[in-house]
Amino acid sequence: MFFKRLLPLMIFAGIFIALMIGLSLNPSAVPSARINKPVPEFSLPPLEGAGIGLGTEDLRDNDKIIIVNFFASWCGPCRIEHPALEQLGQQDGVILHGISYKDRPQNSLSFLKSLGNPYRKIGTDLKGRVAIDWGVTGTPETFIIKNGLIRYQHIGPIHAVQMNDLILPTLRGLQQEDSP
């Protein structure tokens, strides 16, 4: 009879042990962040009519900070962040490259023709394979690279507020790293 009344406590003890073990486990072992990792090896064909393609060696400039932006013409937020990208491309000591993500080349081209092309070089990732290596979750997504290492990853469009509070300070911080 006493055992019957003890049963709820014993069940709870079992759950408690499981929860105790569970606390030390990570339920969502997602791939680690790509921050401070080298840029993935890749080589992408050009967007016909807009430059010569993009590959890993383009990102290994040791003097300048390189920004890579994944975009697509079908992506509304990409239009929103376009002015921010143009501003970024004009920064001193910064080179902006673009990767057109899962987009028809002619659509990407007309997107850039109507809004302006802020990118130095453009690669076309038709199937989105390269984007997987970069850990891109969706467009737009922006990476800041220095000495061939990814130093910052921005998911989603860059709004004006974020431009001033996040992106520009990050760039300045990276530029000042080397200066004594």
Partner: protein, 660 residues
Amino acid sequence: MIAELGHYLLVLALGLALLQAILPMIGAARGDGRMMMLGQPAAYGQFFFSFLAFLALSYAYVISDFSVAVVARNSHSLKPLLYKISGVWGNHEGSLLFWVMFLALFGAMVAYFGRGLPQSLRARVLSVQAMVGVGFYLFMLLTSNPFDRLVDVPLEGNGLNPLLQDPGLVFHPPFLYLGYVGLSVVFSFAIAALIEGRVDPAWARWVRPWTLLAWIFLTTGIVLGSWWAYYELGWGGWWAWDPVENASFMPWLVATALLHSAIVVEKRDSLKSWTILLAILAFSFSLLGTFIVRSGIITSVHAFATDPERGFFILIFLALVIGGSLLLFAIRSDRLQAGGMFAPISRESSLMINNLFLSVAAAVVLYGTLHPLLSDAFFGVKSSVGAPFFNLIFGLLMIPMVVTMVFGSHLKWKRADVKGVSQRLIAITGIAFLAALMTFYITYGGGIMPVIWVGIGLWLLLSTLQELATRIKLFQRPIKDSMRRLMRQPRSSWGMSLGHLGFAIALLGIVATSSWTREAQQVMAAGEVMQIGDYSLTLKDVIPVTGPNYTAVRGIIAVTSKDGATFLAYPESRTYIASPITTTEGAVRTKLSGDLFIVIGESQGGGRWGLRAYYKPMQVWLWIGAAIIVLGGMISLSDRRYRIGSPHRKSVAERRVNVL
């Protein structure tokens, strides 16, 4: 300054909670009236200080004081005022403060309304209530101080997740918390009863309004959350068996069982230790839910920012509260003497069987929720059970439960006549069976389960109406006489009728919308037409719009239904300035027969847009049913005999009224 003041007020509230936890308990053991009396002023003061602390944090949100860490992390100066305020409880620290404030509020309510309780019982209830409070104050002050300052004060805050910027979400968490915390009162009553070693019908009458109150809040909170998911998440889903949803559903199932078993204690002085166990479990599930949400132990779409240190603290707290109370239950529950006996076929039995189904349902949800954790912790395998598991089990488990509901409400207390009840039910059983056959014919090839469920749902609906008709002797007496009886029904019996009626209506809605939803998807340019169900949708235009803190594209869609009615629908897709999340604002056209739900997707280039549309038959029945359930609860709560704090001996006249 205000933040430091808030911090200080919390420490003061902790001090008062410690006093309230210790002194009245000792006083009750010694029979010292003065020590017992201390419980009330301590409870009032504790509430006063925690409420002021809450106001202090709200103030920091309203003026966007980003030097307070929580405000900087979760608010934004451009946010509309309503969402600045709801942001107070939209995060871990703030919601804890919210919790503990309500905990103190309920303590103060017990102190105020419980003046008619025996002095020792009230002292012990207040003491247990304060013990729970002490745990929460310590948790907040040691691991999650909402008043922490930032050294580098940012110019702008991070913003609240745009998905959470919705009126539905302003009210969903408060109701849920009120439900969880309300169950703490019931828990305190149960622990106090175990310590006193006495549970009697009077105890059940005192506990009942608190259970009902907590249950109403919990039901409302769950339904609001579900409703929000339906409108906001953009695919018309209203329940996903997500761990956090389950965390609120488990205490609800147990509280529903408790609501029914407390009736047996009150009417028949029976099922006592079971009722006490349910009271402990209902609050334990609330705490477990809090733990699941805040420890990050199980992945969920809802999870708060997680932190192992916090998880550890809550786990120890859980062990003390739940383990301690279950130990107390094991040691003391044999003192609760069983009262009235009853036959296997009786109202009592049917309530007991229903309790059993509800408890098994709660256990199933608990297992399904913890499954990923259990398999990972004990077998090192990552796996989860998912919605099909829950849907299957609930689809089967709820059938005998509804059958018991139908029979049970017609059975008499003590010993009932099965044959008589069966004969009375023949007519409505026939109607329900015919309805199921018709459903089978209309939806031929669509599976047998929905057909069975339509039959059973309708059966419950008719049975509930028939039970009411029997009670007022409809068609047996002149109609005027019946109407007079109807008006004189005790409010608690209205509660039962409406509760069951609402449940049946919601059930029918659930079956229809989850079995026969239709979906269409198309990339459209202006002027193109899409068909779904009886509607044809023409995309007129897509225009950009700007809101206070977002930009959006809005589709203008002309909808023509088969009966010739036309109207315009405006689905939106919003992108928020402060965080890169796009939310959908579906356009919903609600009719009793079904909802038309239109969502605008991404631009496909060249002026073409992705559009999705759903037709969800009888979706609104779910919300109507839920509203009727809550209404039933409120009417029952307003019953004079059960009003919080006015417990008085049942008069002979009332004892004759044989109602739920």
